[in-house]
């Protein structure tokens, strides 16, 4: 299969299925779908930093805000634009795609700027820096007139739907999986295991940490853009550290390093929040206790680092495999083959 086709395969299969789902799902479930879809994007993307790489970021909501506001601004700017020859529906979707992409780009840039100074150091600085960043972003937004200050930006077109949410969630999951099975992704896990050894084996640990952080921030920006265009509004109050904390709880509960775990807890907590509205007041206290108890009793969360795709029946999914032996080709490592003298105890 040609690489381009193989690369896009999940989406070629997924989009039609999502379109069918969109037609079938009754509109009263819209907010549920938004909550779950956005949670999946947030949790899986945070897992790349907190789980795969073992660095602790508490600022996911900050990147969400950057993405949401950038997407909103672009959306509002493109509001009346028409491309001659294209039907309005298509232009709208294109405009939305451009808005989302801008959101991701802006959030990625923010991730780069925050990550570069903080990830150079070993230690727990990242948690505080990212927490501070989230608060500062909110404070800056609240004090900037062109961003609507505390009232935010209104009148955003309602573009988010099942297909967009599904595609975004799929994109995030595909990103995480491809990273996890690749050698580059394995290097992230190595950094988590033993940063010194990883560095000694040639892994540019800072560079890798920054890359993971930037990618993660970009997807948080995507989530922000989706949320804004679902409720047609972006305000600073939507992106507080409480939001960041909720995502952290999701990732830790599911298992730091398990994409499957993040998806499961995103769904479980998304549903639980709706069902337990009456306990709203206690929600944060319950989360805090959950976190503490988890760390004391089962720090690996539900899934640890295990994945659904590690199960036997998914073994056939693409993963790096050695080339079949090429006739007449030299073994990649041999200078002279000495035939198994090494390592006999």
């Amino acid at each position: 299969m040609k690489p381009v086709l193989r690369s896009l395969l999940p989406f070629l299969v997924g989009i039609p299925l999502l379109a069918i789902a969109q037609a079938l799902i009754p509109p009263e479930y819209f907010l549920w779908i938004v909550a779950i879809g956005v949670n999946i994007v947030l949790a899986v993307s945070l897992n790349v930093v907190n789980g795969f790489t073992g660095q602790f970021s508490l600022g996911h909501a900050g990147f969400m805000a950057v993405g949401a506001y950038s997407a909103a601004k672009v959306s509002l700017a493109l509001a009346g634009v028409r491309v001659p020859g294209l039907p309005e529906v298509v232009t709208d979707e294109l405009a939305f795609a451009v808005a989302l992409a801008s959101g991701m780009g802006a959030a990625a840039l923010a991730g780069l700027l925050v990550g570069m100074p903080s990830l150079r150091l070993r230690g727990d600085y990242l948690a505080i820096v990212t927490l501070g960043f989230g608060e500062i972003i909110r404070s800056l937004i609240e004090n900037t007139t062109v961003l609507g200050e505390a009232l935010g930006l209104q009148g955003l077109p309602k573009r988010t739907n099942v297909v967009w949410l599904g595609v975004s969630a799929l994109a995030t999951i595909v990103m995480a999986r491809r990273l996890a099975v690749s050698t580059q992704g394995r290097a992230l896990f190595a950094i988590r295991e033993d940063e010194i050894a990883a560095e000694a084996m040639g892994v540019d640990t800072t560079g890798y940490k920054v890359r993971a952080f930037t990618i993660s921030a970009a997807y948080a920006g995507l989530a922000g853009g989706l949320v804004g265009h679902a409720i047609q509004l972006v305000t600073p109050a939507m992106f507080t550290f409480i939001r960041s904390f909720e995502v952290v709880v999701m990732v830790v509960l599911g298992g730091l390093g398990s994409v499957t775990g993040s998806i499961v807890s995103a769904i479980v907590l998304g549903v639980a929040i709706e069902k337990l509205r009456s306990l709203e007041q206690y929600r944060m206290v319950i989360y805090s206790l959950l976190l503490i108890v988890l760390m004391l009793l089962r720090p690996q969360g539900i899934f640890g680092t295990r994945e659904l795709w590690d199960l036997r029946l998914f073994r056939r999914l693409p993963r790096p495999r050695a080339l079949a032996a090429t006739p007449g080709g030299a073994s990649p490592t041999a200078v002279r083959d000495e035939g198994g003298r090494g390592g006999q105890a």
Partner: protein
């Protein structure tokens, strides 16, 4: 000139708070190599402890120095106990696990305090606890009279008292750290807890003591701050804790004199920059300082980069 002096005064007042709280961060980091995320919230608890003790002792009716002292010491004791409990039940069981695990627990404890205090009151007498999300007003603990006005600046007498109390506490801490056996033991554990243990130092007790000491200082800071800025609420520790942490990093995390210097320096910088530009950027200043320190000199003013043995 009056404006300059005013900013100086305000900066020192602010710096006192940062310094006292930063000391807790730095001491705990020294002995445990852990950033005690919940420390800023202990500061908040200190302010509320003072609020409740004040209500019980009736300071709003007849404030006097005796009651003020009682309230302060009581709050310090309560927070000391809180510090002990947090260390004993949330951090100690995880001491041999990965650092990430302890960090996550610390975050959990921090949020537990912040949101626990935001719950609506479950008991109503003799005090309404938890206080709930709405801000409360800290009572004046002593009636000191009208503000002083040197050279055109306005200085509240309570701020002077607070400053003096803070200096006394810091001197007391210096004495403890450098002139008592506990202090020697604490520094030994900071340097290498394994060796310290082998030398016969009761490491667990020293760590508990360090936590309690830091928490008590944070409580004092909470009361001093609430006396000047009486509006208190459960999220008080979030921003202040963050800034105090920046102060500790600025001074060199792990260094006791560094925390004091860093605290005053940050207070002055924040006050002067906000004063001469705009108070809207007050919070962003601390963050900018943090990024600058991490980029230019991550070990801080007094810190020494500790080499990790491979």
């Amino acid at each position: 000139m009056a404006e300059l002096l005013q900013h100086l005064v305000n900066g020192l007042s602010l710096g006192t708070i940062y310094a006292l709280v930063a000391l807790g961060y730095t001491m705990v980091y020294g002995v445990l190599k852990l950033i005690n995320f919940a420390h800023g919230d202990v500061y908040m608890v200190g302010a509320f402890a003072g609020y409740y003790l004040g209500a019980v002792l009736g300071t709003d009716r007849r404030p006097n120095v005796g009651k003020a002292a009682l309230v302060t010491m009581g709050a310090m004791a309560i927070c000391g106990a809180l510090g002990f409990v947090i260390e004993r039940f949330a951090y100690r069981p995880l001491r041999h696990r990965a650092r990430l695990t302890a960090l996550i627990t610390a975050i959990g404890v921090s949020f537990l305090l912040e949101f626990g205090f935001q719950l609506n009151p479950l008991v109503r007498t003799p005090i309404e606890f938890p206080p709930g999300p709405a801000p409360r007003f800290f009572p004046a603990l002593v009636d000191l009279g009208p503000p002083l006005e040197p050279l055109g600046a306005t200085v509240q007498r309570i701020d002077v008292v607070g400053f003096v109390v803070a200096i006394v506490l810091m001197l007391g801490l210096q004495w403890i750290v450098y002139r008592t056996r506990f202090g020697v033991a604490m520094r030994a554990v900071s340097f290498d807890s394994q060796i310290a243990g082998l030398m016969g130092i009761p490491v667990n007790r020293i760590i508990s003591g360090t936590f309690m000491l830091g928490a008590a200082l944070a409580a004092a800071a909470g009361i001093i701050n609430a006396s000047s800025r009486p509006r208190i609420e459960p999220l008080l520790g979030l921003m202040s804790g963050l800034k105090a942490f920046v102060a500790a990093v600025l001074g060199g995390i792990g260094s006791v004199p560094g925390a004091m210097v860093g605290g005053f320096l940050l207070g002055l910088v924040e006050e002067f920059v906000a004063g001469y530009t705009s108070s809207r950027y007050r919070d962003a200043i601390a963050f900018a300082v943090l990024i600058l320190v991490l980029l230019v000199r991550p070990e801080g003013l007094f810190g020494k980069g500790r080499v990790e043995k491979v």
